[in-house]
Symmetry: D2
Subunit: 156 residues, 4 copies
């Protein structure tokens, strides 16, 4: 399996894996930081959704424009907005499910040549569509693992 296929599969599986990772957690557990000075499980779940909204948007911009500007977002500020900090987790699970279903239809339809298309990220500079795929596929998994590891540690 190519790296590309594998990265897209990870995006395909993330919504279900995220649902499993937070299943049965109480509000109090969701609001527990996974480490000192770290986000809570709730914030991490919302952050995965916000990151992937940005990833989805950037990929479509790169697929449809010549070297579009890709706007960074301030993840720490987003994580303390009301919905990102205290909002219920179900809408985010619902949203991620639908978003990823659409996203993989898009990703699997891209011609091979599209992966080298470039955007200009205002913090990181030039990035290809493939760079964005790799970054966010791994990013989602990494945060997912953060939740799973913490649950195991807490024996929840």
């Amino acid at each position: 399996m190519s790296e590309q296929t594998s990265l897209i599969e990870a995006i395909e599986h993330l919504p279900e894996a995220l649902q499993n990772a937070v299943r049965g957690l109480s509000d109090k557990q969701l609001d527990t930081p996974v480490g000192e000075g770290k986000w809570t499980i709730r914030q991490i779940a919302h952050h995965i959704a916000d990151a992937n909204i940005n990833a989805y948007t950037r990929m479509k911009l790169v697929a449809t424009e010549q070297k579009p500007i890709l706007k960074p977002y301030n993840q720490d500020q987003w994580a303390i907005l009301e919905d990102g900090k205290n909002g219920p987790i179900e809408p985010t699970l619902t949203f991620v499910k639908g978003l990823h279903e659409r996203w993989i239809v898009f990703l699997r339809s891209l011609p091979e040549t599209s992966w080298a298309r470039e955007g200009i990220h205002l913090e990181n500079g030039k990035v290809t569509l493939f760079d964005i795929l790799r970054l966010y596929s791994n990013h989602g998994n990494s945060h997912l693992q953060q939740i799973i590891t913490f649950r195991q540690k807490m024996k929840w």
Copy 2:
């Protein structure tokens, strides 16, 4: 009821209204353009979702940064990407549902002073958070009405 309250309510009600508007339509009906040279019902449904992802992202950028750049997107190009043109409609209904639930938590938590915050849209220039709210609340309703009107005309 203030304009602001009313615009947020429209965002709250859109996901259910959109589900009702497309309920029971066959694939063939979904793939019918609503007028000559116009998008199909399917494309309009996907477009509402794409527009609102952009709206949600822009609002959060404006809420968390000083005069952020707000990147336009090429709606006509997005509407002919595979997922926007031929993708199944259920994922989009799912993700609109979740997105709007999060979005209204965010919108209702904003302090009154936030509505005057500004971003720099690369096509339209300076826009306030309130401008974006008004634009996209009305935009969603307008496309929703387009579907409803067309269904009535077709007696579907």
Copy 3:
């Protein structure tokens, strides 16, 4: 005389007026702030040049592209860079002379329709070519007047 003609004439006359305004001043006089917490005469002279380089560049971007991004610059930071703070004044008088000579050739060649062309300034939003002309023609004169008034006050 139309406002436009008058604004372009002010740009035409500025280099000579600036030379007259600083003629015969010693280095000590040039390094005197024109008010408490204000720039020195030297800094103001260099600032006029820097502002007009930016104005010239923005106007050409607007004349040759569709809604180009117009990048603000941090005038207070530029004014404390070595050449803007302590640099000799002759090179600036020389380059303002040459810059304005080219600039007015450009300005007087623009078809009437060009003045409504727009750029997106990342701080001020949408601006027309005419807006930039008015802003910088007046800006140069205003700083020139600042020097003249201060010299009169100091009886230099």
Copy 4:
């Protein structure tokens, strides 16, 4: 001599070298393209000035801001604007003389750490202050050489 010192010296010497390169040319000679489908000597001289205005501005943006946007300019469009195509050459020689005198004061005052500072060029992505120095110092010399070589070929 370090590459940096050598690149700054090339910027220091360019104005005089450019004056020598175009000295004594008639308007007709100035308006001769240096090759088929190429710019005229006049356009090349004006282009050197325009490129260096952009270089100077970009360097100051990078020196005074965190990862500023660096706006490309459309050099082919600028070269057919009235002042860039048909304008007299003296203002440009004057302007380049003054600009470079200020520019080298700025360049020689930069602390060693500044050369690694970065900007985000909307076409090329991330570039350092040193990248810009190298690019434009060589760029000026390369166009200068273009004029000299053509004059020799034409035995002017």
